[in-house]
């Protein structure tokens, strides 16, 4: 099988429906979270992925079950795309004991060992060194698998970004860096924080092959991710993928979003990842409206089941507060 | 070897309760050292030892009430080797015996003096091993409070949690003494005052002479003097008043001495008992020695030292027995004059009312002046009103030239 062939996306009917379903699941889940936050069911910080679904879904197609994923505090989409059950993720939003982190992590700290989903991270850039380490362990133990590290363009200003890229390049580690550049680090536009806003170019400093791709086009993202992931799997060292995307909602629930023009947001919405892909597949007759209606009904039910599950799930008993501080519970200091 | 006996601290004292030993067997003693605290109906009094030596055996334990004259402990004088102490088990606990126990002739074996325990650790020494021998848990604050109140930790029972804290010390203290938490037992004191006053009324043929004195000069001088003095050395009007009384008493010997066994012994020094009221009732009149020769600042300092000690129940036995006359000042209240009773065996007591603005004749006109009515009670067996009024007019003249006091 030549290299070029398997980098291209085979868009069968079945795959198109899969991509659309995955993006819609994330979209509906995040919209339900916004609603639940306003109802006080979800507390703390909540950073929604609406508008960026194509990145997680696209990249996830290039990863194998044994690959590892490190993400950020905007990681609901990545978790769902990776296969974490909506019930467990929603219960974690509620802080329930059946949540993916026993209710202790909340929105910014979704974890799943079985999915090798090494979590959200509330510290900007905090995940990059972690990904480098996971890849180092694979290399030292002779395992050929990819560690995919998602982060935002804001992290590019953190020291850990430069330190991690250097280590990955220096030690030829199997890391796929995916920078989801949504143009705003909370309230600061990219041009106000980066002397060189072309994030992709930063990888060149460390000799890491990089590519920028339209983060609103799930097929383009998948294709670029396949190219990068295969190179990493061939042992050619780390790869850097910048997906140019946009978040349709504020940084988090408690953000008046004054730093962006309304027109700019509306303009991006016109070319949203779900809208574009749905119109395209309908236009190619690959998928029909009835398929999409059934798809949307199934997803709505899935989300409602997740909410019911979270509502009914138990709180962790306060007596367990000290569990898991140390592996052997007896070591916990009083 | 000396037998140290329960001292007689007052004419009407016949028993005393040993509260606490301040010295331990083997301690070196110097004349005038305070070696124990004794509870009398007049309050807890520190008793001194009157000769040098080394404390031998303690015969009376804290809490025991013994008659005046009972042997409290033995003291070996320097030079004579001490008789070997009887081994503790054989020594019968000194029960309440009428006559002091005869000293037992025992072969003299020189005893090695025990090393004096360093004072600093003394505080932390376990002084109250509880019944099970386990070191009782005493909080630092409780140790300090118990020591300040002159309480032995051994007499305090710990709380339900086995700890002796401030609560337990306070409990022990109030049970033992007046509700006002001072070192004196007001109930005992009331009985003592009643006995003394009844005897005074019964035995002494009192007469009273009073005179109203214009104290304008005194207070003008005082105000001027105080305005020039820093806060810490300001004078109360009681100081010049006491000095004047002392000087006047010096010049009227019949009012300054003791009447004992039908004989009056005039005193050539003037030790003036200062009647001091205690919060919550009760009265004590410890003596201020040689008031006629002290200057005003010394009198103030003496008063400042005396009164808190009275309240804390910490008086030296000499202070209670040496007064040659007594001075009772009702200055705080509003009463104009008082007719006091003499403290036996003294023969006079001077009572002062409140110094207040009242009408007064000056050059034939009525004016408002600050006046003080002084009343002296005398013992007719020793003096009579004529001498008393000479005393009062001498006092009046002295007070007109306060700067000379």
């Amino acid at each position: 099988m030549n290299e070029a062939a398997n980098d291209r996306v085979h868009l069968t009917r079945e795959h198109a429906l899969h991509l659309l379903k995955e993006m819609l699941r994330i979209r509906y889940f995040e919209e339900k979270c916004a609603e639940l936050y306003s109802a006080g069911k979800i507390r703390g910080f909540l950073h929604l992925y609406i508008g960026e679904e194509a990145n997680a879904v696209g990249v996830m197609q290039a990863l194998e079950p044994e690959d590892a994923i490190v993400a950020t505090y905007r990681e609901h989409g990545h978790a769902l795309a990776r296969g974490l059950p909506t019930t467990a993720v929603m219960a974690e939003m509620y802080g329930k004991a059946s949540g993916s982190s026993r209710g202790r992590g909340g929105s910014m700290h979704i974890f799943s060992a079985t999915h090798r989903f090494y979590g959200g991270n509330a510290i900007v850039g905090g995940g990059l060194p972690l990904a480098v380490g996971l890849a180092l362990a694979d290399t030292m133990q002779g395992r050929n698998r990819v560690t995919c590290c998602f982060f935002g363009e804001g992290a590019a200003a953190e020291g850990e970004f430069h330190e991690s890229m250097n280590l990955a390049a220096l030690w030829r580690l199997p890391v796929l860096f995916v920078c989801e550049n949504n143009l705003y680090a909370m309230g600061t536009a990219l041009v106000q924080s980066e002397s060189n806003p072309d994030i992709r170019a930063h990888a060149a400093v460390f000799g890491i092959v990089s590519e920028a791709v339209d983060g609103m086009d799930v097929v383009a993202v998948e294709s670029a991710a396949l190219r990068a992931a295969h190179a990493v799997r061939r042992g050619e060292g780390p790869r850097f993928l910048e997906t140019r995307t946009y978040r349709f909602r504020a940084h988090s629930m408690f953000d008046p979003d004054l730093y962006r023009d309304k027109e700019e947001i509306e303009e991006w919405k016109k070319h949203g990842p779900v809208l574009r892909f749905r119109d395209w597949v309908l236009s190619t007759d690959l998928v029909h409206a009835t398929d999409i209606d059934k798809l949307e009904a199934d997803i709505a039910r899935e989300i409602d089941d997740a909410v019911a599950f979270a509502e009914a799930a138990p709180w962790e008993p306060v007596e367990d507060l000290m569990r898991d501080v140390y592996t052997r519970n007896g070591m916990a200091a009083a | 070897m000396i037998e140290f006996q329960m001292p007689s601290l007052g004419a009407d004292m016949d028993t005393g309760t040993l509260v606490e030993w301040y010295k331990k067997p083997g301690d070196l003693l110097k004349r005038g050292d305070v070696i124990a605290l004794v509870e009398t109906q007049k309050g807890a009094i520190e008793i001194e030892v009157f000769n040098d030596g080394r404390l031998g055996d303690i015969m009376v334990n804290p809490g025991q009430k013994v008659p005046v004259g009972a042997v409290l402990a033995t003291i070996t004088e320097p030079g004579d080797a001490r008789a070997a102490a009887l081994p503790p088990e054989q020594r019968a606990p000194s029960s309440l015996v009428e006559t002091p126990p005869a000293s037992v002739a025992v072969p003299r074996i020189p005893r090695e003096p025990p090393l004096p325990s360093p004072p600093s650790t003394q505080l932390l020494e376990p002084t109250s091993p509880s019944a099970s021998g386990v070191r009782a848990k005493v909080t630092p604050a409780a140790r300090v409070r118990a020591d300040a109140a002159g309480l032995d930790l051994a007499v305090i029972s710990p709380g339900p949690d086995g700890v002796i804290g401030l609560r337990e010390v306070e409990g022990a203290r109030t049970v033992r003494s007046t509700p006002r938490k001072s070192g004196l037992d007001l109930g005992e004191m009331r009985k003592a005052i009643a006995a003394a006053m009844a005897r005074s009324h019964r035995e002494i043929p009192h007469y009273w002479v009073s005179q109203t004195i214009d104290t304008t000069a005194l207070f003008d001088w005082l105000e001027a003097a105080n305005s020039k003095r820093p806060v810490a050395s300001r004078l109360l009007y009681a100081a010049p008043l006491i000095k004047a009384v002392g000087l006047a008493l010096k010049e009227t010997p019949e009012l300054n001495g003791h009447y004992v066994d039908d004989v009056f012994k005039p005193s050539n020094s003037v030790h003036l008992g200062i009647a001091t009221a205690l919060r919550g009732g009760g009265l004590v009149a410890p003596a201020l020695h040689d008031v006629d020769v002290l200057d005003l600042d010394v009198i103030m300092a003496a008063l400042a030292d005396l009164i808190p000690r009275v309240r804390a129940g910490r008086l030296r036995s000499s202070e209670l027995t040496d007064a040659t006359a007594t001075f009772s000042n009702l200055g705080e209240g509003t009463s104009e004059s008082l007719m006091p009773l003499i403290y036996p065996p003294q023969v006079a007591i001077i009572g002062c009312g409140a110094a207040a603005l009242r009408p007064w004749v000056v050059d034939g006109a009525i004016v408002a002046h600050r006046l003080l009515t002084v009343t002296i009670a005398g013992d007719h067996r020793v003096s009579d009103a004529r001498r008393a009024s000479q005393f009062l007019s001498r006092l009046d003249r002295l007070l007109q030239t306060p700067e000379a006091l």
Partner: protein, 85 residues
Amino acid sequence: MTDAELMNVVKDTLFSVAPDLEGEAIKPEETFRDQFEIDSMDFLNFVIGLHKRTGLEIPEADYSQLQTPADTVAYLRKHWSQASR
């Protein structure tokens, strides 16, 4: 200094003069004389204590403003420079 701190200064000075009063509840509006049978010697010592703590040269004419704990706090608030910071 807060009023609470000034009241503590008054309390600590009073207890140093009359240690047997420690632990008694203090009524801010009642005179020292009525609450605790404070006599002129105690009161002088109390004034001396306040002088040592605050450095204020409290003239005898001001004694009338120090009759109750609350008056004393007000007096300190007015005269003691450090209290106003």
